[in-house]
Symmetry: C2
Subunit: 191 residues, 2 copies
């Protein structure tokens, strides 16, 4: 199959959405995957809009790191949602996967094909490298970033290299509790 470097390609119908918490210096997790600095705020954040966002998507695409992290949670946080995991290594050890409505795909192209075959349109994309892959392929259309008032100095970055500038439309910014802020953007399709 074609690699989806052309946003106007066969995957143009997909609406990749990012809804993510970061430190002020742009990390979505520490090197070891922890996001204690994010969860520590707890209810003090107030209404983040996550539930409404989560209800709005047809499916999720997770990277291996995110999958491993959420798999340690006492409860599977994506109950009732179709989940695609992007991982070469998990594919070689199927037995480690026991979540409902979840499948594993080795490459971005495989995930995209599966999304199209199943008719999924609005997709919640999570995990640093996975988000970067979708962005690079021109498949992210909406980005909501909730920023914590902390600098970590190192960790897993939200953003990475791109082949050119990506212009965004600022949809809105608001203050949450505990010093958090939340900004939403639409990716402009002419970039």
């Amino acid at each position: 199959m074609n690699t989806p470097s052309d946003p106007a390609g066969p995957f143009a119908a997909l609406i990749g959405c990012v809804f993510v918490g970061t430190s002020l210096d742009g990390f979505i997790a520490r090197e070891n995957g922890d996001f204690d600095w994010l969860t520590a705020a707890g209810d003090a954040l107030g209404e983040t809009g996550y539930d409404e966002f989560f209800a709005s998507v047809d499916a999720m695409v997770l990277g291996r790191g995110t999958f491993d992290t959420v798999s340690t949670f006492p409860e599977w946080p994506y109950a009732g949602k179709r989940v695609f995991v992007l991982s070469r290594t998990l594919l070689r050890s199927h037995s480690s996967l026991s979540q409902p409505d979840t499948s594993i795909h080795a490459t971005l192209g495989d995930v995209l094909e599966a999304l199209i075959v199943e008719g999924r349109r609005r997709v919640y994309v999570d995990g640093g490298r996975t988000i970067q892959s979708f962005l690079h392929a021109g498949l992210i259309r909406e980005i909501t970033i909730t920023r914590a008032p902390v600098l970590l100095g190192s960790g897993i970055p939200l953003f990475g290299p791109l082949s050119g500038d990506v212009h965004l439309r600022h949809v809105g910014t608001r203050e949450l509790g505990a010093g958090f802020t939340q900004s939403s953007y639409e990716v402009l399709s002419d970039t």
Copy 2:
């Protein structure tokens, strides 16, 4: 002299202030120093608060890269302000420096000593590595970030490695024009 790793050290009187524009992915300039994506917005940004901020500081500390960039401007943008340039290489070629009220210092320690000797307290710190050096030394107290609605993918990052988490107090966030947002923070001194 001591390296200023202890924020309660002899330089505790200094109030390092950052007032900087970044891309959404945290770059203050492209690899070559350009910040066309920032200046392109021009007057559409509206009132950024820069003039008031600039009037509030006793001195500036610039890195070599920032100094080189502003030296190409048709007009010296820091007229009337005492400027300290942090650069080992410029020190070896004094003749390249012809701005008023400007001196060059090879090390962070030298700059800090000079600031103390001259009784400067509130200092505008600019340039990626210079900001990072001051942050690392615990000498940044105020940070205002104006974010452009663009992802660059690469460039000169605002933030870098730290020896531990740096906690901030969110002072306020507002929307400017052209899709820019501006957030102000105070660095909490217990970190």
